[in-house]
Symmetry: C3
Subunit: 157 residues, 3 copies
Amino acid sequence: MADKKTMIVFSGDMDKVMASFIIANGAAAMGSEVTMFFTFWGLNALRKAKKIKIKKDFMESMFGWMMPRGSEKLGLSKMNFCGMGASMMKSIMKKKNVNSLPELIESAQLMGVKMIACTMSMDVMGIREEELIDGIEFAGVATYLGESDEANVNLFI
Amino acid sequence: MADKKTMIVFSGDMDKVMASFIIANGAAAMGSEVTMFFTFWGLNALRKAKKIKIKKDFMESMFGWMMPRGSEKLGLSKMNFCGMGASMMKSIMKKKNVNSLPELIESAQLMGVKMIACTMSMDVMGIREEELIDGIEFAGVATYLGESDEANVNLFI
Amino acid sequence: MADKKTMIVFSGDMDKVMASFIIANGAAAMGSEVTMFFTFWGLNALRKAKKIKIKKDFMESMFGWMMPRGSEKLGLSKMNFCGMGASMMKSIMKKKNVNSLPELIESAQLMGVKMIACTMSMDVMGIREEELIDGIEFAGVATYLGESDEANVNLFI
């Protein structure tokens, strides 16, 4: 059994989220326990693609409307050009037989990577549990810190 | 006594600096020693809000004028819209009773989180000791590396 | 002998790449083994300045043409203003006798810092071995994970 790894996924950029899942899946395949803690923009990677009907106040609705809904909708951190860069990257990845982000997330879940959504960020951004994909946990910074104490590699992405 | 944590705060974005202080304060509350090393744009989070009269050359003045002066003035890493995003985030945080960044910094200092400003970055950006908030230390990368060797969690933010 | 350090250099921003080499060189000078793993935009820091003639398909050529060719061409993560910010930063660094990025990379190589280019990213971005500077290695995420298991400080930049 290899040592545990943790990642804070703060970024909601497609390229950075992909990097985090490539590391997570690699580590899990090599026998490591892996915990990913999604916070701030990183939460967008966990949103369901379908709009969920929920009563939100004005600010929460604004945030929910402006932020990308799910891993298919994320943009690149550089050269996104209103989504053209992200589309270009996806088409190249498909051609080169590299797994897409939704496929990477699915693999991570199948391999038992623990995915935690930061409840404080969810509260601030007005994101509710039912808006996020199934199979994830909900917790705060103390849980992250506990996990990181047991790990030998801890990254902030 | 829990194990030590270090963070390099490279970013000067309000959301990333907030994340670093939420982690720092959480770790300190759980009994960890915490060292934060502020470098490049991260130094802006430590600037005093008040303009300090100092003789600077043209380039230093330009940098000083263009960069945000203190934790109240930082923008978001995404959806900032010339500060509108940051204001929106602050008003939501207030409504949800989440501590503001200046409050988080104050708590960190009260709990004994060690804050170090990177002297090389200060030199490059023309920032002087008297322009930064009280209670911080000044050192270089060797000091950071020494601290990180004693820690079990080391993040770059 | 101090403990090993690893860094994933994901960013291709001049300021972030500089920070990674300042840490790498500092750690190497203090006796640590250091491994840097360049992936995604970080690969641009390792590109040769000279255009190498290689047959590429349309998408690969587009990527190659739009991305900065080598450490001299990188922009700042903030206040780049189409390269003006990066030039300003370089001129200040020169005046203050701070090593430039190409000098930092050369020092790193002389001190034996191990630099690995991520082969999966190279494939996606259409970057070939002969387009990158000499003296680097080529490997995937499993190699990075193996290296990080032996290190006590692991950063994602």
